[in-house]
């Protein structure tokens, strides 16, 4: 068994194994998702996160070690964000025609998403830092960190809550919109991007390119408007 342990220690310290594991777990989670008729509760990001976190806990691997490998996947988030300009350009006429609904809905939606979360937490006597960390939860994480810092929240907690919101929204939003019989791709994408930033945008891109373009747009606007409006409203 010593050979087995040495083998594990050797490879666990190498970044490569965590890239391979991340890709393998995601591939399997994706297969499961397709098998289950894309049931939102089995969203591959959620399943992959749970499986990989369990792997880290069981093997006693620090997150830093995992990230030394997984950072190469993480790095691609930057260029992928820039790449959202492509679907936005493709549907630019549609976006320009709808600029007023887009602007009004994202301002109202961003404030409701943030203030209702703060309100509920306040009702249950959450600590002040928790309240201020909950506030930017619908905002894409790089912007959310800045907002949390500015209004007196804990940036690391805020980052975690952004993730939880993203996973939750990816599961709940499609269910709610189905109930409301919303079929328009633009509306579905817009609501996904507004409530669940990048996670929602990823789900919207599965719906279609139009949904993806509107999700990317809503994600960007929600980030900008929350960063601009929230410090004023809370102050």
């Amino acid at each position: 068994m010593i050979i087995g342990t040495d083998f594990w220690v050797y490879f666990a310290a190498r970044p490569l194994i965590w890239i391979v594991l991340t890709l393998a777990v995601f591939t399997l989670a994706n297969l499961l998702y397709q098998r289950a008729d894309r049931s939102p509760i089995l969203h591959p990001v959620l399943i992959s996160m749970v499986v990989l976190i369990l792997m880290l806990l069981v093997t006693g691997t620090p997150y830093e070690t995992y990230f030394s490998g997984a950072q190469f996947i993480h790095f691609l988030l930057g260029p992928a964000t820039v790449a959202l300009a492509v679907p936005m350009f493709q549907y630019f006429d549609e976006i320009r025609r709808l600029w007023l609904p887009i602007l009004v809905s994202s301002a109202v939606g961003a404030l409701v998403a943030s203030l209702s979360a703060v309100g509920v937490a306040w009702l249950f006597d959450a600590r002040a830092e928790t309240l201020m960390s909950v506030a930017p939860k619908s905002v894409t994480s790089p912007i959310a960190l800045g907002i949390a810092e500015k209004i007196g929240g804990l940036p690391s907690l805020a980052a975690a809550l952004v993730l939880v919101t993203g996973v939750m929204g990816s599961i709940l939003v499609p269910i709610i919109l189905k109930r409301m019989r919303v079929e328009d791709q633009a509306v579905r994408g817009f609501v996904l991007g507004l409530t669940s930033h990048g996670f929602g945008t990823a789900v919207a891109l599965e719906v279609g390119a139009v949904a993806g373009a509107f999700a990317g747009l809503a994600m960007g606007l929600t980030g900008l408007l929350t960063a601009f409006l929230l410090p004023i409203v809370i102050g």
């Binding site: 691609l76 930057g78 820039v82 790449a83 007023l100 609904p101 894409t140 975690a160 939880v164 900008l224």
Partner: protein, 116 residues
């Protein structure tokens, strides 16, 4: 494909540089997105290499969130004491914002569409 990747990274770099130089409160890639959109509008079309690379990245966008998502493991103790309040707050606000935004956006869209 390499050309497309170069375009994306160059615009991201441009965005990150502007953030540093002007001390903007926004992430560099978001600025890069806006700049690339203006670039495409100026050009009037999407270069093939950019189309291939961006399609590849965007069709796998969900995967790219996993490394950060696994980072949730770092916050287990922070979440420990008030996790149920936080979960409830996120749940209610997500449901509210979804219903309200969908209804408002649809209503406004119909009004704008009616004017056309």
């Amino acid at each position: 494909m390499i050309q497309g990747f170069l375009i994306l990274l160059a615009f991201q770099l441009l965005g990150e540089s502007l953030v540093v130089v002007f001390g903007l409160p926004l992430p560099g890639p978001v600025i890069g997105l806006v700049l690339l959109l203006f670039g495409l509008l100026g050009l009037g079309r999407i270069p093939d290499s950019l189309k291939i690379t961006s399609d590849g990245l965007l069709s796998n966008l969900a995967l790219l969130f996993i490394p950060a998502g696994v980072g949730l493991v770092l916050h287990f103790d922070l979440l420990a004491s008030e996790w149920w309040i936080i979960l409830l707050a996120l749940l209610i606000s997500t449901i509210l914002a979804t219903i309200l935004t969908a209804a408002l956006f649809q209503w406004l869209m119909k009004r704008v569409g009616g004017e056309k």
